[in-house]
């Protein structure tokens, strides 16, 4: 890994490009803004060449899957030809013929590989009529509280199966049945809820269509780069915000701690922020009951009581949930103002 990868020169559609040794023709093309349609390819996963959409002509050899072919010095690649177009279009039409289409209401509408590839291939209205695309009528697995699996939209690209195996190391998902009846399922074909699934959602974020999709997809108006509040791993996250609510979370691929991966809590566990139980005003106990107060009254009371108990009559418990700056101030307050070292937090619990 430490050795510098060798640079390879090749030609794609007459354009001379360079790519790292070992990279695929598809990756080299995409990195140089040359689009080749693809469904089963994902940059995080090993290539399998299953969808047959990325076939290209290399040095005259027709229909070589570009995702499974490594770049070679002097290679001449053509990404399109009549023959290639025909093969791709047939593959695409077969996929569409049993794909349940409710595009406007689909969670993947703004990011669907099937839509992108159809647009590229120019699927025409009369084709669709001829194909009479219809749902397979298979039941949707809604058992997981955060996402659902609609087998009627699945294109059997296997990205979810490979993600659960290669990225998550869990191996919950597998292809089940054969031929036209092939679908994605869990061991014993149990529902997601009853399976070994950890609900990390890594498969959901990689599904190229709307088959594995969040249950309540919301489009974030803006994103804020921050750090997860749950465990000590400290995953980098982007909080997606709409109005004054957190509606979405995605992993920050730039952060070495998690490189984009998240767990169930980090991806789906931030509704507590918007929960109606949140305290919104200071409370002071009066005659055994908590009564809402203004900040000034509460701070006055705290300041005067603390001023009476300086020294070792006072203790502070800081928090492993608070920021460094806050912990620093709490210990500074305890030591400099309250004149005691009685400060600790739950490090040991």
């Amino acid at each position: 890994m430490s050795q510098e990868a060798k640079s390879i020169r090749l030609t794609i559609d007459g354009q001379e490009i360079t790519a790292e040794e070992g990279s695929s023709v598809l990756d080299a093309a995409l990195a140089n803004d040359i689009y080749i349609p693809h469904l089963c390819h994902h940059p995080d996963l090993k290539p399998v060449g299953a969808c047959r959409l990325c076939g290209v002509e290399i040095d005259g050899r027709p229909m070589t899957t570009s995702c499974t072919t490594a770049v070679q010095e002097g290679m001449d690649v053509k990404t399109d030809s009549e023959k290639i177009h025909h093969a791709r279009k047939t593959a695409m039409e077969l996929l569409i013929s049993d794909h349940h289409m409710d595009c406007l209401a689909c969670a993947a509408a703004n990011d669907c590989a099937l839509l992108t590839d159809s647009a590229y291939l120019g699927i025409e209205p009369d084709h669709l009529v001829r194909l009479r695309p219809s749902s397979k009528g298979l039941p949707i697995d809604t058992s997981n509280p955060f996402f659902q699996f609609d087998p009627n939209k699945c294109v059997i690209c296997g990205i979810c199966v490979r993600t659960c195996d290669e990225i998550v190391g869990r191996g919950t998902l597998e292809f089940i049945d054969r031929g036209f009846g092939t679908t994605i399922g869990t061991f014993g074909n149990k529902s997601f809820m009853e399976s070994t699934c950890e609900s990390c959602g890594e498969c959901v974020v990689r599904c190229p269509v709307g088959a594995l999709a969040p249950k309540r997809p919301k489009f974030a108006a803006r994103e804020v780069k921050t750090t997860c509040v749950y465990c000590g791993v400290g995953c980098g996250i982007y909080l997606g915000v709409a109005g004054d609510k957190i509606v979405d979370v995605r992993g920050d691929r730039e952060r070495p701690t998690n490189e984009g991966s998240l767990c169930v809590k980090g991806r789906y566990g931030f509704n507590f922020v918007n929960h109606s139980d949140r305290l919104t005003k200071p409370l002071i106990k009066k005659n055994g009951e908590f009564v809402e107060s203004e900040w000034d009254e509460a701070l006055e009371l705290v300041a005067s009581k603390f001023a009476d108990t300086k020294g070792d009559e006072f203790a502070a418990l800081a928090s492993a949930k608070c920021t460094n700056e806050e912990n620093y101030l709490i210990q500074k307050f305890t030591r400099a103002v309250m004149q005691t070292n009685n400060v600790d937090h739950c490090a040991r619990l």
């Binding site: 955060f146 290669e166 998550v168 869990r170 809820m193 950890e198 990390c200 780069k225 921050t226 750090t227 509040v229 465990c231 000590g232 791993v233 980098g236 730039e254 952060r255 070495p256 809590k265 931030f270 509704n271 507590f272 922020v273 918007n274 139980d277 305290l279 919104t280 005003k281 200071p282 002071i284 908590f290 509460a298 705290v302 300041a303 603390f306 108990t309 009559e313 006072f314 203790a315 418990l317 800081a318 928090s319 949930k321 460094n324 700056e325 806050e326 620093y328 210990q331 500074k332 307050f333 305890t334 030591r335 004149q339 070292n341 009685n342 600790d344 937090h345 490090a347 040991r348 619990l349």
Partner: protein
């Protein structure tokens, strides 16, 4: 942490998360990583899948055991014996790293002598693990290098937790698995910013950066930095003008002293000790005795019921600051939404209390100013500023503005006075409670993937609550049969300190004699029965070993 300070001179995860990918061997002991640190758990499973040797030692058959090359199941409380047994085998089989020991460690004569007590018969008898399996694990760890060792509360939450940590350090030193990439002794820190809270001196014995409160030179430095001695504006400062030279009290001791009436007021920020502290009944009785208690939190927690004043805090999504993760990486936290209602960031509230008291040194407009002060008094954070950690953070020690941060510790020397590490001679200490006729089972605690600590946050997320909505007492089929317990039935779990009601789950992840609960659920508050026996040095309670009795209800 005290254990690692004794062995290496400083206590923190020595290596980085990404280095897991480069390890030839991973040894995970006393940590249920896929539940408590899921994204590191994913990475470990991925490493094992890509060919790393995965060695797992745990009292329970945790999920990582399913993908491990070798899984051994020592009895709760026997980790020191297991680790010392491994060290003994490594020395006898001549698998130790002689060059590393000669160059980087103090003489191991005394340590070697202490191993004599750990005979194969004694180790096997105490741990319940066959000697040949211990040897296999030890051999792989010593020879398939670099080997990275990971542990968590399974090692530390014992009345001999410090010994456990030193035993882990001994093993790493003996085999030279430290001070190199993809090796090391890696305590996985539980909460998002437990590392940072320790770094910042939210500890009774340390100022920020582990500078001792009992050291006069350190005290003087902070007195100067904080301007103590200078008269404040309104002259209200009391006559004491020096920082206290007395060690403060630890978490558990604080509640003892409250109970005894010596501590009268408490400032509790974002904690819920009624669910998280061992022997929580004692905490409740203590809280009732306080003259004045301030709780600062997002919600009215179980503990907040006992407060005189509750101050509404802003959540992590509503404020700026930094968290330091388990690999010592200081990372930015940014506000995404405005604070709910009139809630305020904790840093603002603490500053406002201090200012109300007429105290100088708390006039901050932005957390970046606080970080600048932190960097000025904390050598290991000396080079940290918000500008530098915009994108990916920096790992301390980061001594000055040009320092690149430190992915792994102890590269050239250890942080002890002579620069050398110490292999600490150890003896076997029994857990404070062992199974007997009255309390025949050992209860150990763990965590659920779906909940977080006292679950004040996660149980307010509908989907997480659906995935895991109540406590289970997990116990082995053999014990279930022995006590006539059926899967799913309500049972009472009694310890010397109390009783909790819980559903029983009969599962073979627990070996006979061992049962397990989390502590996330207020309906079944596990820590009302756990053992508060403390490690004498680290003052950590023994929540991993509590003698209990399980009874049918009705």
């Amino acid at each position: 942490m005290a254990g690692l300070v004794t062995s290496f001179g400083s206590g923190a995860m020595t290596n980085s998360i990404q280095e897991i990918d480069g390890a030839k061997t991973l040894f995970v002991i006393g940590a249920n990583t896929t539940s408590a640190h899921p994204v590191i758990g994913q990475r470990m499973r991925r490493a094992a899948r890509n060919g790393a040797n995965l060695l797992v030692a745990n009292a329970k058959e945790i999920e990582l055991a399913w993908v491990a090359d070798h899984f051994i199941q020592p009895k709760p409380g026997s980790d020191v014996v297991l680790l010392m047994g491994m060290c003994r085998y490594i020395l006898e089989a001549d698998l130790h790293d002689k060059q590393f020991l000669a160059e980087r460690c103090e003489d191991i004569g005394e340590f070697r002598e202490s191993l004599e007590a750990f005979t194969p018969e004694f180790v096997t008898e105490t741990t319940g693990v066959p000697w040949d399996r211990i040897c296999t694990v030890a051999r792989i760890y010593a020879t398939e290098k670099p080997a990275a060792l990971f542990y968590a509360m399974g090692i530390t939450q014992h009345s001999h937790g410090t010994d456990g940590v030193m035993a882990v350090a001994n093993l790493a030193l003996l085999t030279g698995n430290i001070g190199k990439p993809s090796s090391g002794v890696n305590p996985l820190r539980g909460q998002n910013n437990v590392q940072g809270a320790c770094d910042m001196g939210a500890l009774p014995n340390y100022y920020p950066g582990y500078q001792q409160v009992t050291n006069p030179a350190v005290r003087e430095k902070f007195e100067q930095a904080w301007g103590i001695g200078a008269k404040s504006g309104n002259g209200s400062r009391p006559p004491v003008s020096n920082l206290s030279d007395k060690l403060g009290l630890t978490h558990t001791e604080i509640f003892d002293k409250i109970y005894e009436g010596q501590i009268k007021s408490l400032y509790l920020v974002g904690e819920n000790p009624l669910l998280t502290e061992a022997n929580a009944n004692h905490v409740r009785q203590a809280l009732e005795k306080l003259d004045f208690c301030v709780v600062q939190d997002l919600f009215i927690s179980e503990t907040a019921q006992y407060a005189d004043v509750i101050l509404p805090a802003a959540s992590f999504a509503e404020k700026a600051g930094t968290f330091t993760n388990t690999e010592r990486r200081v990372q930015r936290v940014r506000p995404a939404i405005p604070p709910r209602g009139e809630s305020r960031a904790d840093w603002q509230i603490t500053s406002q209390i201090a200012r109300k008291m007429g105290e100088p040194g708390f006039d901050f407009d932005d957390p970046s100013e606080i970080m600048a002060e932190i960097a000025s008094v904390t050598p290991s954070y000396g080079g940290i500023s918000y500008e530098r950690i915009e994108k990916v953070g920096l790992q301390w020690p980061c001594l000055d503005e040009n320092h690149p941060g430190t992915p792994y510790l102890h590269k050239d020397k250890f942080a002890r006075p002579n620069g050398k590490a110490q292999l600490v001679p150890l003896t076997y200490k029994k857990s404070a409670e062992i199974a007997d006729d009255e309390y025949p089972l050992i209860l150990t605690t763990d965590r659920s993937l779906y909940h977080y600590h006292s679950a004040t946050m996660t149980r307010r997320v509908e989907g997480l609550e659906k995935l895991d909505s109540n406590e289970w007492l997990k116990l082995s089929p053999a014990d279930a049969a022995r006590f006539g317990i059926e899967d799913g039935e309500w049972v009472e779990v009694h310890s010397r300190r109390g009783v909790v009601k819980v559903h029983a789950q009969v599962t073979d992840i627990c070996p006979p004699g061992v049962c397990s609960m989390t502590f996330h659920f207020r309906e079944s508050p596990t820590n009302e029965i756990t053992n508060p026996a403390l490690d004498p040095i680290a003052k950590i309670p023994e929540t991993k070993v509590t003698a209990v009795r399980v009874e049918k209800i009705g």
